[in-house]
Structure formats: C-alpha cells, structure tokens
C-alpha cells in the first residue's frame, strides 16, 4: 500500500489541454474522489496515475517511487473500469485469477487467493459462472475482486457505479467503502456524481477544464467552497453577486449581505456570496428577527414537494432563490405568497469573483 503524489502534471491532446499543472497528494490508505463534469480531465488524470497514458510534464509517484514513465503493467495498480471489462472468455474465478496467473503464481496459491477475494466481495459460490450469467452488481463485485486480488499499491475506480441503478448503486457504495476499509488500500475514485463523492470519500478533488478547482475533505468543500463553480457543482447554492464590503457584499440594489466564512477580500472588489438552500429559513411574517441575520423579502414562485422536504423557489429582484425546508408538518407556503428569507452570516461564504 502506498500514497500517490501527483505534482505539476500537464497533458495535452493536440490544442486541448486535458490536464493543466495538476498537483494532488493522495494520502496512503485514503479514499479520494475526483469529481468533475465530463471533459474536466478527471479520467485523464486517473489514466496518468494508472499508466495508460504518460504526462507531457510533471511527476507522478506511487509510494515515493517516480512512475510517470513506467508502463501500466509494471505499476502494480488495480483498476475497476466503468463497463467492468471482465474477460468474457473466462469464468469468474479465471477472471479473478488472471493477475496472479500472469505473474506466474503457483496454482494452489492462486486458488486460495481467488477464493478469499471472491468471499470478500460475497461471491464465494459463483466462481464457476461466466460473466454474462451475472447481474450488473455481481459483475461489479467480480471486477473489484479481480482488481484487489493482486494486492495492488493503489486501487483506481473509473466511474464504477455509473452503470448501476439507483438502489444498487447505494448498496455498492456501502459495500465498496466496507471493502476499502477492510484492506486499507489507497483508493482513487472518478465520478461525476456529487452525492457519491460526498458520501464515500475522505477527500474530494474538484476538477474543471483540466485544473484542480478545490481539494479537501467533503465537509470543508461543501461548507467553504472557494469558487462559485465549487459551490454549485458540489451541492446546490444560491449565489449573490456584488461588491465586497470586507465582511460581506453589497448587492447592486444596496442591500448588504454579511458573510461569516470564506475569503478575506478588500472592500470594493467584485465578490460573491454562496448560501446553501437548506441553511435559509423561510417565513411569512417580518417579525422574529434575530439581530445580525441576513434578511431578504421575496415571493414564492414554485414549490416542489419531495416527501421529506420541500423546495421553494423564491423570486427576489429578478433572481430565483432556492430554499429547502424539512417536512416538519408545519404549514406549507402557497405559490404566490410573500415571504421573508433569513439566514446567519455563518452560513454565508464569501467568494472572490472570477
């Protein structure tokens, strides 16, 4: 097992810069999600770490050893592919045995290791089946067993749950996390699903246009996004734009919004504030104001009921704000109703414009 250091890695395909000076430190034994929209470079980065493709410049180290020019078969990595990539001409057990067998391990050793890996993914009895006889979730588990049976230094997962339906995906998230903890392997996980990234990983790196936008633990990125992109890509956010007042912003219409967290900016600079929809309280009356809370008046334009919560769309000065309210059984607000929105400065993140 080993950590992975990516330092100043760049990779271009023709005129397109797929990776632009990317540096990330993947800690030993950690579960790391690379999150980004399609074309953000997250898969390209994974392929550089795997060794399917080499960077134009920069350094990649696995366990402290430089590998950026080492071909994939010599890197001792395990990889799970989006479409599972099981060998259709082999049984499940032979698929799992492949890595050990090309390495020339003895037959009894292979048999024991394969059985242990299949037991770990709870497919101990299906070794004799062919891949096409398995369900999507089972194939996923075989792919995982095949990737970890060789005891790789790093486990790389390329959108491994993308092809599964919602319920199965949640099961596999838990399962994957359990197995990762059990063997303690450094895991790098590419996904475009922000919920998956939030629930599974110790750290998240958000990529956009080949650059790392923000990197850190899920709570930190969610609570203190450093850019509008990070704020809106990981979770939902209301974005207010205006001029910095040093501890908040002033909207074009003169309204001040106080921000308790985020960047330190000189007064007068262009800036934004991000507020999560679930941090905003919504009420019909103007009273019950708590001292320093940010307050805005608006009108409900739409309500979406989702069982455990409701999302209100509130029109305010040409901007549509989103507010999520837990279903506590309290009176629901009707569309067209005038409302007051309140939230604390501690829930408001100051972001430099750009």
């Amino acid at each position: 097992m080993a950590g992975v250091q990516v330092s100043n890695v760049s990779r271009s395909f023709g005129a397109h810069k797929a990776l632009d000076d990317v540096s990330i430190d993947f800690a030993d034994g950690g579960f790391y999600a690379l999150l980004g929209p399609s074309g953000s470079g997250k898969t390209t980065l994974l392929r550089q770490i795997a060794g399917f493709d080499f960077p134009d410049s920069g350094r990649i180290a696995i366990g402290g050893e430089s590998v950026e020019r080492v071909p994939v078969e010599k890197r001792r990595i395990g990889m799970v592919f989006q479409n599972y990539a099981l060998f259709p001409n082999m049984s499940v057990a032979d698929n799992v045995a492949f890595g050990l067998s090309v390495r020339g391990e003895a037959k009894p050793v292979i048999a024991t290791e394969v059985q242990r890996a299949l037991d770990l993914v709870q497919l101990g009895k299906l070794g004799g089946r062919r891949p096409h006889q398995l369900s999507g979730g089972q194939r996923q588990r075989v792919a995982l067993a095949r990737a970890i049976v060789t005891k790789p230094r790093v486990l790389l997962l390329d959108e491994p749950l993308g092809a599964l339906d919602k319920a199965l995906r949640v099961d596999m998230q838990i399962e994957l996390k359990r197995i990762q903890r059990e063997i303690g392997i450094t895991t790098i996980f590419v996904t475009h699903d922000q919920e998956e990234a939030l629930t599974m990983s110790d750290r998240i790196g958000i990529l956009r246009d080949g650059r790392v936008v923000q990197e850190g633990p899920p709570e930190e990125i969610y609570d203190r996004p450093k850019s509008e992109f990070a704020a809106t890509f990981l979770g939902d956010a209301n974005i207010f734009r205006g001029d910095s007042t040093g501890n908040g912003i002033r909207l074009p219409d003169g309204t001040a919004i106080a921000a308790g967290v985020g960047a330190t900016l000189a007064a007068g600079a262009k800036a934004s504030c991000a507020v999560r929809p679930e941090r905003i309280r919504i009420a019909t009356d103007g009273g019950a104001s708590d001292g320093n809370a940010n307050t805005l008046k608006g009108q409900v334009s739409k309500r979406i009921f989702a069982g455990n919560n409701s999302t209100y769309f509130v029109e305010r000065a040409g901007q549509t704000l989103k507010v999520i309210v837990q279903n506590t059984g309290a009176d629901r607000l009707a569309e067209g109703q005038d409302v007051v929105l309140r939230w604390s400065p501690e829930s408001t993140v100051l972001i430099a414009a750009g």
Binding site: F98, V102, R146
Partner: protein, 289 residues
C-alpha cells in the same frame, strides 16, 4: 407456455417465409439442381450427352482408390490448403489487428481499401501480374538486381512458392476481414484491464485477444482452406509443370479429357474429405474459441 412458444415460432416462420423464399429458391435452382446432376453423372460410365450408351457404375469412385496418384495429389492439395491458410493467418491477422485496434478514421479507411482491392480485380489479371513479377528477368528479379551490389537470379515462376504466393494474395483478404470483425468487437478496456493486472502486451494477446478473436480466425480459415484445396487456376498458371494438384486434375476431366463422370466423382470425394476435416476440427476449434 411451451405450446404458446411453439405457436409463436411457427407463425414467425410463416411470416419469415417470403423473406427466405427468394434465397432458397435461387440456391435450389442454381446450386442444388446442378449439383444433383453431378452426383448422378458421377455414377455413370459415359456422359449421356455424348450419345454413347451408358450404364451405372461405381468405377469412377473406385478409380480414386485404385490409382495412388489421386491420393497423392489430394494430400498435396490438402498440404497446399494448410500452408496457404497458415500464411494468410500470419499475414492477415496482424493486419486485421492494426486495422481494428491501432488505426482510426481516415487512415483506417485507406488501408482497408488496399486490403479489399484484390477482391475487385479480376482473378486472371491478378495471377498474370504475379507471373510478370516472379519470372526470370521479371519485375522482382530486375528490381533486386538493380538495388543489390551482387548478381542474384530470381526465378520463382513455375514453382511451388509461386503457387503459394498467388493463392495467399487471392485469399488473404478473407482472413483480414473475418479477423477484423471479431477484433473490432473486442472492447479496448479488456486490453487495458489485462495490462492493469500486470500482463504484458504479449500475454494480453495470448490470453485475451486471440481467444476472443478465435471465431474470426476459424471462419477465415474455413473460407480459405476449402477453396484452396480445390483451386486450379493459380496452380496451373503460376505452378506450370509443378502445379499439378487435385483441383487441376478435376479441371482436366471437365475441360480437357471430357471425362465428366470421373471429374464429378473426384469432386465429391474432395467434398467428403473436406467435410470430414471440418467435422473433426470443429469441436477442437470451438473449445479453443
């Protein structure tokens, strides 16, 4: 359920009949009837069209067994078929691999066209152009002597290698095409998965790519082996005196000696031998695939 299924499949067959009928009608008229006539001829002493009196006989088949020449020629033809098929694999498979897995877009189309081109040229033209290349003082001989500092004498014309060269040229596109189709169907991520598990490119080729493309290899081999065993044009033109094979002997019976019954009998013996070979080989090949 089973009854319903049977009804459904029967009605499926009925609705498919108009689609199947033209092909089968054509096959019946164009192949089955003449072939039946040939079976009939092969049991006759004389061709009925010649006006001479004729009778039924097994003599044409007996001739094959009574004269060792026919067996010798058949074995030579089988060996020729095997060698040509092998060369087609050696030459065609790598080409198919590059076409399917390495080249993309325009360059793939261009190379593909070059592979197909022999198909579109007339067979005789193809063979005679080889004759110009291979003979003494021909294109190959002249070109090599122009380049090399010492004098060499290339005269491949009327030799066994010339027959092989001509046949491989004619039939290699079949191998390229059938292998290309199966290779192209192999997901690139399977190759990447193999390498991520520590397998070298050669190990991936041996354990993943070749087994998965086996159906294409088998189909290509069958498409090449069968006609090559019965071939007569390439052996006759490029092989000259050395080009006497089973196929040329059959051809002689039809166009030179006018012993159609013997020619027909020899053809059917060949067909039987080829079918037996394919039947014996198919379980082995299927297991490999």
């Amino acid at each position: 359920m089973a009854v319903e299924g049977a009804v459904a499949s029967r009605s499926g067959l009925r609705s498919a009949l108009p689609l199947l009928a033209p092909a089968y009608l054509w096959l019946t008229v164009a192949i089955f009837l003449p072939l039946s006539a040939m079976v009939f001829f092969s049991f006759m002493t004389e061709l009925p069209l010649s006006g001479k009196p004729w009778a039924f006989t097994l003599g044409n088949y007996a001739a094959f067994f009574s004269q060792s020449l026919y067996l010798t020629l058949l074995l030579a033809s089988l060996r020729l078929g095997l060698e040509v098929t092998l060369w087609c694999v050696v030459i065609g498979y790598p080409a198919a691999y590059v076409l399917a897995k390495v080249l993309k877009g325009r360059s793939r189309e261009a190379i593909f066209l070059l592979v197909i081109l022999p198909f579109w040229s007339n067979g005789l033209v193809r063979i005679f152009s080889w004759a110009m290349v291979l003979r003494q003082g021909g294109i190959l001989d002249t070109a090599l002597n122009a380049v090399l500092p010492f004098k060499i004498n290339i005269d491949l014309m009327y030799s066994y290698p010339a027959v092989i060269i001509g046949l491989v040229h004619s039939y290699v596109p079949y191998m390229v095409l059938t292998c290309y189709l199966t290779l192209q169907a192999i997901d690139d991520s399977l190759i990447e998965a193999g390498r991520s598990l520590g397998a070298s490119r050669l190990q991936v080729l041996k354990r993943v790519i070749i087994p998965l493309s086996m159906p294409g290899l088998v189909a290509g081999a069958a498409l090449i082996f069968v006609p090559v065993v019965g071939s007569f044009m390439e052996p006759r033109i490029l092989g000259g005196r050395t080009g006497t094979f089973y196929g040329t002997v059959i051809e002689d019976q039809f166009v030179a000696v006018f012993n159609w019954p013997l020619g027909a009998a020899l053809s059917f013996i060949l067909l039987a031998v080829v079918l037996v070979i394919l039947a014996v080989a198919s379980p082995v090949l299927r297991r490999a695939a």
